[in-house]
């Protein structure tokens, strides 16, 4: 498998100054998609300064979103509405799959490589790296933005990390 070189990385939160991820227009009720957007923005800005990405690189950059559980908050809200016989909020439809927020960040940054979402069996970033290495080895991308995100379950806190990688 192709070796990978890390170009830059980011996390959310990175310090106590990071509060909740900023709200993301069009995404409601849940921290999942805002977290993905915030950490992806932070990571990409460390390589491309501001959007869009370098036009020589963005079209060949894949987006790999890794989350074992996905958007748990939205899943719970939908289940509660269904079980109560209520209509589901229409905006929840648009965030029902992890691809949706990937569409936001790829449009913002001009990334037109593959979009892949996985639920990892083991370590999230290791799995993301394996997916990215496969895409780069196969020739569908030269670089990959890997975003690993999990919402807090129980007493934990939401957390996300991102790495931009290329062939090593």
């Amino acid at each position: 498998m192709t070796g990978l070189a890390v170009i830059c990385r980011a996390a959310w939160p990175e310090s106590t100054e990071d509060g909740p991820a900023p709200p993301l227009p069009g995404f409601v009720y849940s921290t999942f998609s805002p977290l993905v957007a915030a950490v992806a923005d932070r990571c990409l800005a460390r390589s491309h300064a501001s959007p869009p990405a370098d036009p020589a690189r963005g079209p060949r950059t894949a987006t790999v979103l890794v989350s074992r559980y996905g958007d748990v908050t939205s899943a719970v809200l939908v289940a509660e509405a269904v079980d109560a016989g209520r209509r589901v909020a229409p905006l929840l439809f648009y965030q029902a799959v992890p691809n949706a927020v990937a569409g936001y960040l790829t449009a913002r940054w001009g990334l037109t490589g593959p979009v892949v979402c996985v639920s990892p069996v083991g370590d999230a970033m290791t799995e993301g790296m394996a997916v990215a290495a496969g895409l780069i080895e196969d020739g569908d991308a030269d670089e990959a933005l890997i975003v690993a995100v999990e919402q807090a379950m129980g007493s934990g806190v939401d957390s996300a990390s991102a790495v931009l990688v290329g062939a090593g």
Partner: protein, 407 residues
């Protein structure tokens, strides 16, 4: 950072890795890039299994697709009285997803004559939305519910001892898994890979699609047709075994594949179809096959206004004038949209159709739409074509193209 390497597609053994931008954006490729003697050997599909609203097994699914006979009916699996739309393509019973996936994987492995030892070496790539139970589980127990946990359970039950990965990329989840599996075999990382996918119509996704006004209001899916009103959900579970050519009997071959992104919108496809067209061209180039050799396209064809128009634009961009002649249908018009599993059902239907020598029918057609000037398969048709494409697109602008070749 290194840049994309530009291979000469007419001579390079790894033709298809990177396409020049000028050719990606030009009006279509009509000539083979390579002679057949230099084409890389297709990755073999050695075994297949499917469950759909037509029943368990690939036979009922293929028969319905070739006849253009839809399976949509009133949903009685759960309460839909509060929904705008009350129709889907469902089995008459209420099957369990995990059990159906285990049975499908076992059936595909048996179809491929995999020994127990071969199973122990095989990775499993699974495409599912996730574990639907997570939304109703007590908070302390949610960590037991994930797509990854489903994949681990299936691998354990089926004796698959290789690596396990779960794809959740919506409507391209399964096709991405197939592309990755083909690449794993092509690059020598695995001898055999099992790809499985499943979605069974359930109340939560049904409610979401209903709330998003994505469901057809007239009880039919009418891809590329005037008067189309949307998609309808359908049951779908499938499994395939991919292996290196020469390792097994070949039901069909995966000759080319590609994954691309639109970089355009959260949920809408790029209207110009550029991303999907790039997937088509990359898959063809990876296979060393010209656009004029493609004899059938099983389109994503969701039946929604914007998506079908964008896909038609993609086909015109990829095929040029050939887009007016290459036969196109969307088998979602009979089996419905099986979400993460749909692209695997469509691959299986396409493979079986090539094997049978007949083209699936684009059901539900009312009349031409000027935004979709395609050569639709509107009645059962015999064929002798060798190459068929299956295309898929998803929220977030994710696209895939898989090029199949008859054995």
């Amino acid at each position: 950072m290194h840049r994309c390497r530009r291979y000469d597609r007419r001579t390079a053994p790894d033709a298809g890795r990177c396409l020049p931008d000028s050719e990606l954006e030009s009006g279509g490729l009509t000539r083979p890039y390579t002679s057949s003697s230099t084409r890389p050997a297709p990755v073999a599909i050695a075994g297949m299994a499917a469950v759909s609203a037509f029943g368990r097994g690939t036979g009922p699914l293929l028969d319905a697709a070739l006849a253009g006979r839809p399976a949509f009916r009133a949903v009685d699996r759960f309460d839909v009285s509060a929904r705008r739309v009350t129709v889907a393509a469902t089995l008459p019973d209420s099957p369990g997803l995990l059990d159906e996936l285990i049975d499908a994987v076992d059936a595909a492995c048996a179809d491929a004559d995999l020994s127990a030892a071969q199973r122990r070496d095989a990775p499993l790539l699974l495409a599912v939305h996730g574990d639907a139970a997570i939304g109703r589980a007590p908070a302390a127990q949610r960590s037991g519910h994930s797509a990854a946990a489903l994949a681990e359970a299936i691998a354990g039950k089926c004796g698959l001892g290789g690596s396990v990965r779960a794809y959740t990329s919506a409507c391209v989840a399964a096709s991405t898994a197939v592309a990755d599996a083909a690449a794993m075999v092509r690059h020598g990382h695995a001898r055999r890979v099992v790809v499985a996918a499943g979605y069974l119509v359930e109340p939560d996704q049904f409610a979401l699609f209903d709330a998003g006004r994505a469901l057809a209001t007239d009880g039919a899916v009418r891809p590329f047709s005037a008067g189309r009103t949307g998609l309808l959900l359908g049951d779908g579970v499938g499994a395939v075994v991919l292996c290196a050519a020469g390792d097994s009997r070949v039901r069909c071959g995966v000759a080319g594949w590609a994954r691309t992104g639109d970089g355009y919108h959260v949920v809408q496809p790029s209207p110009d179809g550029a991303g999907l067209a790039r997937a088509v061209r990359t898959a063809l180039t990876r296979a060393g096959v010209g656009a004029d050799e493609v004899g059938y396209v099983n389109a994503h064809g969701s039946g929604t206004t914007a998506s079908d128009a964008a896909e038609a634009a993609a086909l015109r961009r990829a095929f040029g004038q050939l887009a007016e002649r290459v036969p196109v249908s969307s088998t979602k018009s009979v089996h419905g949209q099986a979400l993460e599993a749909s692209s695997l059902l469509e691959l299986i239907v396409t493979a079986l159709a090539l094997e049978r020598g007949e083209l699936p029918v684009n059901a539900g057609f009312l009349g031409p739409d000027e935004q979709c000037p395609l050569s639709l398969v509107l009645a059962p048709r015999r064929t002798s074509v060798h190459y068929g494409l299956t295309l898929n697109a998803a929220f977030g602008g994710a696209n895939t193209a898989l090029l199949l070749v008859a054995p």
